[in-house]
């Protein structure tokens, strides 16, 4: 499901962000005595944003998904590499340190994490669907 918030995924410090996000729900997997989600994160306000390979704007200090272990819970839930995590279980992820982000994701008493992630392809998909939306009859017919 996609929620429509606004247009471009740009980052201006001090201004509210408007982005197209996707809701991803991951069920944690029990492995030995750890609950793992199956992906790796990078970024944070205490990190160097210039070295982030996935961000479009190299001053973006948000949390990005850097690796997905294939077949893991995140992969099954549809999380993709390069996604920017905007919220985790309602907690904001756009202005957190790396360690705070890790802590929000690895809470021992939560079995499910609901992420709001954004990626470039979401915007384009929304733009295309907006172009078809006013003419509803034709859209249904194209299904």
């Amino acid at each position: 499901m996609s929620n429509l918030y606004g247009d471009a995924m740009s980052y201006v410090p001090g201004q509210p962000i408007a982005a197209v996000v996707e809701r991803v729900q991951i069920h944690k997997l029990q492995e030995r005595n750890n609950l793992i989600l199956g992906f790796s994160i990078g970024g944070g306000i205490d990190q160097d944003p210039g070295q982030n390979p996935f961000s479009e704007n190299k001053s973006d200090k948000g949390i990005y998904v850097t690796r997905i272990s294939p077949g893991g819970p995140a992969d099954k839930a549809g999380l993709m590499m390069g996604d920017k995590i905007m919220q985790v279980n309602g907690y904001d992820m756009t202005m957190v340190t790396h360690d705070q982000a890790r802590k929000k994701l690895t809470k021992k008493n939560e079995a499910v994490v609901r992420l709001l992630v954004t990626r470039k392809s979401l915007e384009e998909a929304v733009k295309q669907s907006m172009g078809v939306a006013p003419n509803c009859n034709t859209a249904t017919r194209h299904y």
Partner: protein, 536 residues
């Protein structure tokens, strides 16, 4: 030109070619009956040149006929006597005579003026002190303690003034400049005025009124000597200190081969700047070698001779007209020269090809000869050994001093050295005597063969050669601005001597505006650039 080479007593170059073409020349002359009689006569006799060529006849005779640059080094002579001089030499000699006489007069004149002024300056205080005792000894108050103390002060100050003047002014003049040295003239006028005014005052107020206060007179004399010391300080600042700080960068270019140097000069007048440039010239510029320019001159001659312009349709009959030589109107000459330039541009000239291959060939030849020379010299140096102290006592028969040792090993390297010098066109700069002297010098000072060869492999500065090889003795300063005016940014002047000229351009060192920025040493702080990846 090759077949009509003639030999004179005065040209250095012909020594070698003499030997190689002696036989060929005789046969050629027999086959050329129409050659000028006097010249052919001379070409058969062998003249002994006053300056010895690089080697005696014995080594030259052994040389092959195919010598590399005999064409460039044979000379033609204009005179008909055995010891003939070229036109240039005559001009040079007359100029030397005239100018040496003129300069000496001026130098003696300024010298006498300076001596008179100096005597006046030194004797004045003494006269001030002595005259009252001579003229009115009875009326004079006796000299108390303070007054006698002043005597000592006068004596020592005069001694210091004498030493200072000796240090600053009593030096043999380095050069004769065209115009008077402005600052020195001003200073001497100042000193003269000063001394005259003191004498006036003394004459009117002390001599006429016959003042009895001797201490006052002594103090007056002391004030004179003090003021003279201050004038000497002014002289130091004006003459010596003012031009020490560099203000201008001058670029000196030699007109014949373009060798360029840059020097820093302070605030000087044009003639003093020219003098400074010339002193640097003798120490820094390599010696002027006219033999190196012959190749480009021959190329230029070939260009000129390539085209001739004929006036076919016009008032004048068809006559060869080359630019300003004819008597056509200016417009006609202009159009002709333009036609020549256009034709030359269109012509497929392959002289650049020749130059390229000639240069490559020359380079190869020079390197080959240099290799042979280095080997020959190294081998020659192994033939002698220095005797140690103990060995000298029980000396075997044949002990030689450095000069004899040099003469002993010289023949084995002579030929290679001679060939190398001829290839690099330096053979007129070094005579056999000078080479042997240099060899003896190197042997005495334990120098290696490479050290001996260095002065022949690269042309050194003009000072290193003997005076008659300088080709630069009499200089003329050519300047649009007055030569006593100061150097300014963009001033250009020329220093001409007989064979070439030095072009000097000036640029001033810019005014530098500097600002400061303070950095607190505690403000140097750093953070790590992190990019961690955590798996969750």
């Amino acid at each position: 030109m090759d077949t009509e080479s003639t030999y004179s007593g005065y040209s250095y170059y012909s020594g070698r070619s003499r030997g190689s073409h002696r036989h060929g020349e005789r046969s050629r002359d027999r086959h050329k009956p129409r050659s000028k009689d006097s010249r052919s006569e001379k070409s058969v006799t062998i003249n002994t040149p006053p300056a010895e060529p690089l080697l005696g006849d014995s080594a030259v005779r052994g040389e092959q006929v195919q010598d590399d640059n005999w064409g460039e080094t044979t000379t033609a002579v204009t005179g008909t006597s055995e010891h003939s001089l070229s036109q240039e030499d005559i001009v040079r000699i007359t100029k030397d005579l005239e100018d040496s006489v003129g300069l000496d007069c001026r130098r003696y004149f300024t010298l006498t003026l300076a001596v008179i002024l100096g005597l006046l300056v030194f004797l004045t205080p003494l006269a001030f002190l002595v005259l009252p005792h001579l003229l009115w000894p009875e009326k004079l108050q006796s000299c108390g303690t303070a007054c006698e103390g002043l005597f000592i002060s006068v004596a020592f100050k005069l001694l210091i003034l004498l030493l200072a003047v000796w240090a600053l002014f009593f030096r043999s003049p380095r050069a004769g400049l065209p115009r008077v040295f402005v600052f020195r003239a001003l200073l001497s006028v100042l000193v003269l005025l000063f001394v005259v005014s003191y004498w006036l005052f003394y004459g009117v107020r002390i001599l006429d009124s016959q003042d009895e206060n001797y201490q006052g007179i002594v103090q007056y004399a002391v004030s004179l000597v003090d003021a003279l010391l201050f004038i000497h300080y002014l002289a130091i600042v004006l003459l010596e200190l003012r031009q020490l700080q560099p203000c201008f960068s001058v670029c000196v270019t030699r007109s014949t081969d373009g060798e360029m140097r840059h020097y820093n000069l302070g605030q000087l007048s044009v003639q003093r700047a020219a003098l400074a440039v010339l002193e640097h010239y003798y120490c820094d510029f390599s010696v002027h070698n006219p033999a190196l320019l012959s190749a480009s001159k021959s190329r230029a001659a070939k260009h000129l001779a390539g085209l001739k312009v004929y006036n076919v349709d016009g008032e004048f009959p068809a006559a060869p007209a080359e630019g300003p030589g004819n008597n056509a109107a200016a417009g006609l000459a202009h159009s002709q020269s333009r036609a020549m330039i256009a034709a030359a541009a269109r012509r497929r000239d392959s002289s650049h090809n020749e130059l390229y291959y000639e240069d490559a060939e020359h380079e190869r030849r020079v390197r080959k000869r240099k290799a042979r020379l280095v080997v020959a010299v190294e081998e020659a140096f192994t033939h002698i050994k220095r005797l140690q102290e103990e060995e000298q006592k029980k000396a075997p028969g044949d002990v030689m001093d450095p000069r004899e040792a040099a003469q002993a090993i010289f023949p084995s390297m002579a030929r290679a050295l001679q060939k190398y010098l001829r290839t690099t066109k330096q053979q007129h700069c070094h005579s056999m005597e000078s080479i042997q002297q240099h060899l003896a010098f190197c042997i005495t000072n334990n120098m290696t063969p490479k050290a001996f060869l260095e002065s022949y492999l690269t042309p050194g500065p003009t000072l290193q050669y003997s005076r008659d090889h300088w080709m630069a003795r009499q200089w003329t300063l050519v300047s649009e601005a007055s030569v006593t005016s100061g150097l300014r940014d963009g001033s250009i002047f020329l220093l001409k001597c007989v064979d070439f000229s030095l072009v000097v351009t000036t640029k001033s060192i810019p005014y530098i505006q500097m600002s400061e920025e303070f950095i607190d040493p505690k403000s140097h702080k750093f953070v790590l650039r992190l990019q961690s990846e955590t798996s969750v």
